[in-house]
Symmetry: C2
Subunit: 211 residues, 2 copies
């Protein structure tokens, strides 16, 4: 139950503002290079507020990973790729959707928890686990459609729906790494085209130019 400040009630509560600031700044600078003062400045709150809501910088890292998991879950649940009747069409629509939302600056479309996991996997178990939950939780939302597609089309391969679901995430994350290294969003889109082609191949669809 966040309290709104009487002085500037339109700002939203400090905790949420800090999480939003963390999401934006950590995506650009990384976790270690982001200071508590950076976050307070961006969120327009003081350090008192920061340490009132989060016991430590690491605790904020865990909280922002969970915040990311929650907000992205809602975002993808509401996305239109669930509309097709055929499960395989939904899977392909997901890939197309992931490609379509790659717009604007790198820090606006890349993945907070992928970036954080890479950085802190050896230094903070808590943050790593929160990031893992977000990534693999999202991957799991794809399994039902993949499984449905396998069933509906009578596919028999030496791979599992869980494995393919995780692979989609690996391709997406890897595309982000290349996009950052090359400073070019096209590199992320390019790998999604290969992923689309791969999935079509797995299900014996006629080859079709990926959009």
């Amino acid at each position: 139950m966040p309290r709104l400040s009487k002085l500037s009630p339109e700002r939203g509560d400090a905790r949420t503002r800090l999480l939003e600031a963390a999401r934006d700044i950590i995506r650009a600078k990384g976790f270690a290079a982001t200071t508590v003062d950076d976050l307070c400045k961006q969120a327009e709150v003081t350090k008192g507020a920061f340490f009132h809501h989060f016991g430590s910088k690491e605790a904020l890292g865990v909280a922002v990973a969970e915040f990311w998991a929650d907000t992205t879950a809602a975002f993808f649940e509401a996305a239109p790729y669930h509309l097709p009747d055929d499960p395989l069409d939904r899977v392909l629509a997901y890939v197309a959707f992931r490609k379509a939302i790659i717009v604007g600056e790198l820090a606006e479309f890349t993945c907070l928890v992928g970036t954080m996991a890479q950085e802190v996997y050896a230094t903070s178990t808590d943050i790593r686990e929160a990031c893992g939950k977000s990534i693999f939780g999202h991957a799991a939302t794809l399994e039902a459609d993949i499984e449905g597609a396998v069933r509906a089309r009578g596919i028999r391969g030496d791979w599992t729906p869980e494995s393919l679901a995780r692979h989609t995430q690996a391709v997406i994350q890897g595309g982000f790494v290349l996009a950052k290294a090359g400073n070019n969003p096209d590199l992320a889109r390019e790998s999604l085209d290969h992923l689309d082609r791969y999935i079509r191949g797995l299900f014996n669809l006629p080859k079709e130019a990926a959009q």
Copy 2:
């Protein structure tokens, strides 16, 4: 012309020792969380030596990315995946080789420049560019074999050898991200199996269990 210390001439020169320390520590903790003192301690040199060889911490970041590019280039050049006569076999052998070298701890097989690029892409243009050079330079070493395979097998698809070469790197990098997030090297191997299957599909090879 590195001078060997009279006290312990077997140590090797300080610059190389610092680069090796940077490679190992940054892979585990990330660039920002790695301090100059960490590096000096691990390399068993003093800060004087550090700032004698590198003008700043950022300059070391650039140097270690170049060091990585050089050492990995030599490593992959000497690797056995170049032996097969057929270019497609060489491409598949590359993927198998990348899978085979995923052994031991995460920090021992993951990619320094992929990790660094993710972290510093917005804060250090110099380091980002050095990382990009390493990644895309390595990708380029695959192009000739892919091109040869396309030619030899008369493949006609809506993709280019350059693009597929980059995609292999995206899958590898993404596999590392998932392996870190899930604290499980199998996740990196799993995506290489999908990559193997994808390439076989592109070249109309009979489906075969990836090893």
